[in-house]
Structure formats: C-alpha cells, structure tokens
C-alpha cells in the first residue's frame, strides 16, 4: 500500500514535523494510559479505606509509610498515597472531560447543522439562543447549574454540557452555513435523497474539521472547568476525588507549608491541559487553509 495515499497518513506526516506537538501528544497518550491502568500502576488503591492509615496522613514526599513502600509524592490528609490518588484522579478528570466533550459535540453539532440546513425561523431561534448563551461566561452557567442539580457525575457532566454546547453549535453553524450555499449541497437537495441522508452523508462530513479542533480545546476546557468547580466544592463527592478535589483538599494545609498535597495534583492537571492544548493548536493549524503551503 502506498503510504502517502490515505488522508490520515498525510495528516500524520505533517503533524510529525512539529516536534513539540508530537511530544505533547505522547504526554497525552501516556497520561491517558496511566489513568486507564491506574489500578495496575499505582502502589495503593486510594478508594479502599482498609488500605489507608491515618498514621500516614500529610507525610512529605519520600516518606516510607506503614504499607512498607515509599510515598514518592507524599500523602494527603486521609493518608492516601498522592501518586496513586493522582492516577485515579486523572482517570476521573479525563472521563468527565471526554464525556462532557462528546455530549456537547453531539448536541451542539446537531443544533448548528440543523439551524443552517433548515434556515428561517428555526435558524433564528436556535442561533439567537446560542448567541445569548455565548455572551454569558461558561463558568457562571456551570456554577449555577451544578449548584441547582446537586453533586454527582451525571449532574456535573450536564452542567459542563450546558455551559459548552454553544461553542460547538456556533462552529457547526458557521461551517454548515458556508457549505449549505455550495453547489454540491444544492445538487444533493435537488435529488430525491431524503434530508437525513443529505445532512449525514454530505453536510456533516464537510463540517467535521473545525468541530474536531473545537472538541480538543473544549475537552481541555471541561477538564479545567471541572477542576475549578471541584475546587469550589461544587464538583464530585469527596469519595472519588478528581484532580481538582485533591487540590482543594490540600489547600487548607498549604498555609502551614505542606505544599505537596495541592501542588502535585495541580502539576498533573496542568501538564494534561497544556499538552491537550498544544495538540489542539497543531491540529487547528493543519486544518487552516490559510496556513496551507
């Protein structure tokens, strides 16, 4: 098979030229794997209360605990090994980010494309609503929704989706509106194909590149937003701490110099978010026709 032939290999070859982006992608993959196999790589199961000992709480990095192994990043107030807690926290953060990202992508893309395809009143109604919401800061919206719905994974994801679907709707609408006016769509509409087929087979595939770009950025954003909400005490229940919750737990102890409880989960969070953003930047540049060589 000719390696140059598929769009994917062409895309990958161009992506490979940016060393920083490749590094960022490998970090994202590594962190995702660590999160996926958290139960195998972490020295301790931080959710199993039988494993924890209060004797070990708030110990500095490098301390050898009652379990007989070294806590390389120290322990938190409950006596959890921080390294293990970070792996498990990564898992929750990534889970929430992906779930919120995909649901907002689906809802937003559907609304945006429908608005562009149908036009008229529907278009006006949907896009006015989206614009109204975009002028309102996402964090505030998520804050209020999560406050009203209460704590839990589903509630948190709904709040993130409600705060973020508008970005996808805007993007999908812009792309679909431009495609809608082109001859191939007019031609497809003129054939006896049903609207559903025209949208799914012709319109949607041509709107995907910008949506992919927004999706990468928004997944990073939902991870960050989730961490912020958890930090404010409006995120997940304490029994399954995400990275934001770990940081929040350590905050009161920071004043007395026990920095590691907050700092290391934060470092993990930032590495994850920055790496995703760098990958997203590169993907955006590759999809941007104005930067095409």
């Amino acid at each position: 098979m000719n390696r140059q032939s598929t769009p994917f290999t062409r895309f990958w070859n161009e992506f490979r030229e940016n060393r920083i982006a490749v590094l960022a992608l490998s970090i994202v993959v590594l962190l995702a794997l660590l999160a996926l196999f958290a139960s195998f790589v972490s020295p301790q199961n931080p959710y199993d209360l039988a494993n924890l000992s209060l004797m070990d709480s708030r110990r500095p990095p490098g301390f050898v605990g009652t379990g007989g192994y070294t806590h390389w990043l120290g322990t938190d107030p409950q006596g959890r090994d921080l390294l293990s807690a970070i792996f498990y926290g990564l898992r929750i953060s990534i889970q929430i980010g992906l779930a919120a990202g995909f649901v907002s992508l689906s809802i937003g893309a559907a609304l945006g494309i429908l608005a562009a395809y149908i036009g008229g009143r529907v278009e006006n109604l949907i896009m006015r609503l989206v614009d109204l919401q975009l002028s309102f800061p996402a964090i505030l919206l998520a804050l209020v929704i999560v406050a009203l719905l209460g704590q839990g994974k589903v509630q948190l994801i709904s709040a993130l989706v409600a705060a973020q679907y508008a970005y996808f709707a805007r993007t999908a609408y812009g792309a679909a509106k431009a495609e809608r006016g082109k001859d191939y769509i007019e031609a497809a509409v003129a054939t006896p194909l049903g609207s559903r087929l025209v949208i799914l087979k012709h319109l949607l595939p041509n709107c995907t590149p910008p949506l992919i770009v927004v999706a990468t950025v928004q997944i990073a954003n939902s991870i960050s937003l989730e961490a912020t909400l958890s930090f404010l005490g409006l995120g997940l229940p304490v029994t399954e701490p995400s990275l934001g919750m770990l940081i929040s737990n350590g905050f009161p102890y920071m004043m007395s110099g026990r920095y590691w409880i907050s700092v290391y989960p934060g470092v993990a969070l930032i590495i994850l978010i920055v790496a995703i953003n760098i990958v997203g930047d590169q993907v955006r540049d590759q999809f941007n026709p104005r930067l095409r060589r």
Partner: protein, 324 residues
C-alpha cells in the same frame, strides 16, 4: 442614527426579559429552600406561616409576575438567610468586586496591548517568542491553580504579601475602598494578578494578531514612504486600527471578569459579590442567586449596548448596515 439606537435599545430590553424568565425558572424550578430556612423541629403552623410570608405557596407564574413587578420597582426581594433587602446586600459587596475587577482589567489591557504590539512588530525576536509562550500558559493554566501558587510563593514562602482579606479601607462617599491605603493595596495585589493573567494572555494575542495583519497593509507602507517615524506610525495609525477588536473584547472581558472573580474571591477570601454568590448557592438563598444573575445579565446587556454605540460612532459602516 437615532433609529439604530432605538432598535438596539429595544433588542436589549427583549434580551433582559428573556434572561429574567430563564434565570427565574432555572433558580426556582429546582431545589427546596424551605428545608434550609425552617428548622426541622418547627411546627406545621410555623412552616405554613413562613412559606406564606416568603410567597412560596403561590403558583410559579404568579411568583414570577410578582418578582417582575417588584424588579421594575427596583425591589429584588429579601435574602432568606440575612433577612435584609438583596439589593442592599449585593450593593454592600459590590465595591470590593468592582475595585478588584477594574484594577485587573485595566492593567491587563495596558500591559497586554503593549506587549502584544511588540510581539507583533518584531515577531521573530527572542522576546516576542517568550511573550507568546507565556501567553499560552496564561490561557491553559486554570486560574484557581495560579491563585494557589501565588499564595504559596508570596504569602507562605516569602511572606511578602497577605494571603487573603481586604485589609484597611478608606471611606469615600460612604463606600469603603481598599486601594487608597498601603495595607489595602498590598491585599489587592495578589488577587488582582490572579484575575488579570487570563485577560493579559488574551490581550497579548489579540494585539499581536492585529499588529501583524496591519503592519503588512498599504496604510503602513504609505506612512513609511511619507517619512513618518516608526513611533508615530505605531501610535497614530496602528493603535487606531487595532483598537476596534480590542475595545469589544475589553467591554466583554469586563463582564466575564466579574464572573471569574467568583473563583479569585473564594481563594483569597475577598469579601466581594463572588464570595457572596458561592455562599448563597451553598445554602440555596434564592433571592440572592436570582438578583446576582439578573445583575450580571444586566451588566452584559448594558456593556454590549454601549459597545454597539461606540462602534456606530467609530465606524459609519456599522451604522448604515444596521439601519437598512
């Protein structure tokens, strides 16, 4: 011109009406504040009495109607928890937030635009690349985390600046302000930096993109051919041309910074509106939540309206396009 203003004004009122309905339904549809306001050991008579006094026994549409009428009279209800008028409660906290937000946004804009113009003017220089790399960080790193690191570094480890609170204040026209006193100023520095970083990154990127684009246009070529000095070109021509997107973002950012202040105020225990809303959410103090959201919506709508007006004044194309 007058037609344009009236059209935009009516639009703004329409948006406010929709927002008030959404906010009201959103806040009132879910959650039951009665359990929080009334102790569980209260008698049934007392319960009914309190529910009636708070107007919670009436149907939702009636509650909304009463709320709307009171809103027009400038009465946003009483806080369930503090039992004082909400407007008074929020008004008392507003100066602290405004002070913080204004200092952050103004300094972020001045510094950000200068750095951005430099980065766009000499894009290949080492300094410009450093500025841009830093701005990527400013975008990516969650602001609560930056706040923690600021506290850890400057308050805990170095001990230079206080970690929270407002410090000494001075009354000007009956309102307490922190910035005129040295102690207050030292309290405001860390939260202001925390709040400003995201805006700074955004202003840098905006100014840089505008500068790069405009430096390649004929306007600049002709200005150079006319023998104007580079400083004059930057000040007289470039700054004017990049100002339109920057004014828009400045206005919008003023509003969103107000929202982001929620996070910063929580970290630094800054006694502003953001801290108030977080505390109110925790105890489901509905009137405060509704009033806060309506206030933020009102600010956004007003800012958008003013931006539109400024646009119409600067750019005649906007005026004509909207009128037709």
């Amino acid at each position: 011109m007058l037609g344009f203003i009236i059209q935009r004004f009516l639009q703004a009122i329409g948006v406010m009406a929709v927002m008030s309905l959404i906010v009201f339904c959103g806040v009132y549809a879910i959650g039951n504040p009665i359990d929080i306001v009334i102790p569980p050991e209260a008698t049934q008579d007392l319960r009914d009495e309190v529910i009636r006094r708070l107007g919670l026994d009436r149907p939702l549409y009636e509650q909304y109607f009463i709320f709307l009428v009171n809103l027009l009279k400038g009465d946003l209800g009483r806080s369930f928890v503090y039992n004082i008028p909400v407007l008074e409660l929020i008004g008392g906290r507003l100066p602290a937030t405004l002070e913080l937000v204004l200092i952050s946004v103004v300094s972020a804009s001045v510094i950000g635009v200068s750095l951005g113009i430099y980065a766009g003017y000499r894009p290949e220089s080492w300094t410009a690349k450093t500025i841009m790399a830093a701005s990527v960080l400013g975008f990516s790193v969650p602001s609560f985390w930056v706040g923690l690191i600021l506290i850890l570094t400057f308050a805990v480890n170095l001990g230079w600046l206080p970690a929270g609170g407002r410090g000494a204040t001075i009354d000007i026209w009956g309102v307490a302000w922190s910035f005129p006193t040295l102690d207050g100023l030292s309290h405001i520095i860390l939260p202001a930096i925390n709040l400003a970083l995201f805006k700074l990154a955004m202003m840098i990127r905006l100014a840089r993109a505008g500068t790069r684009e405009i430096m390649l246009t004929d306007t600049i070529k002709f200005a150079r051919a006319a023998g104007l000095s580079e400083i004059t070109i930057l000040r007289q021509h470039l700054l004017k041309l990049i100002s339109i997107p920057i004014i828009t973002v400045f206005g919008l950012e003023l509003g969103s910074t107000l929202a982001f202040a929620v996070v910063t105020e929580t970290i630094f225990s800054w006694p502003g509106v953001g801290k108030l809303i977080i505390d109110s959410i925790a105890v489901l103090d509905r009137p405060v939540m509704v009033a806060y959201l309506i206030l933020v919506a009102f600010l956004f709508v007003t800012i958008n309206f003013v931006i539109d007006l400024i646009f119409a004044l600067i750019d005649p194309r906007v005026r004509r396009g909207a009128a037709s």
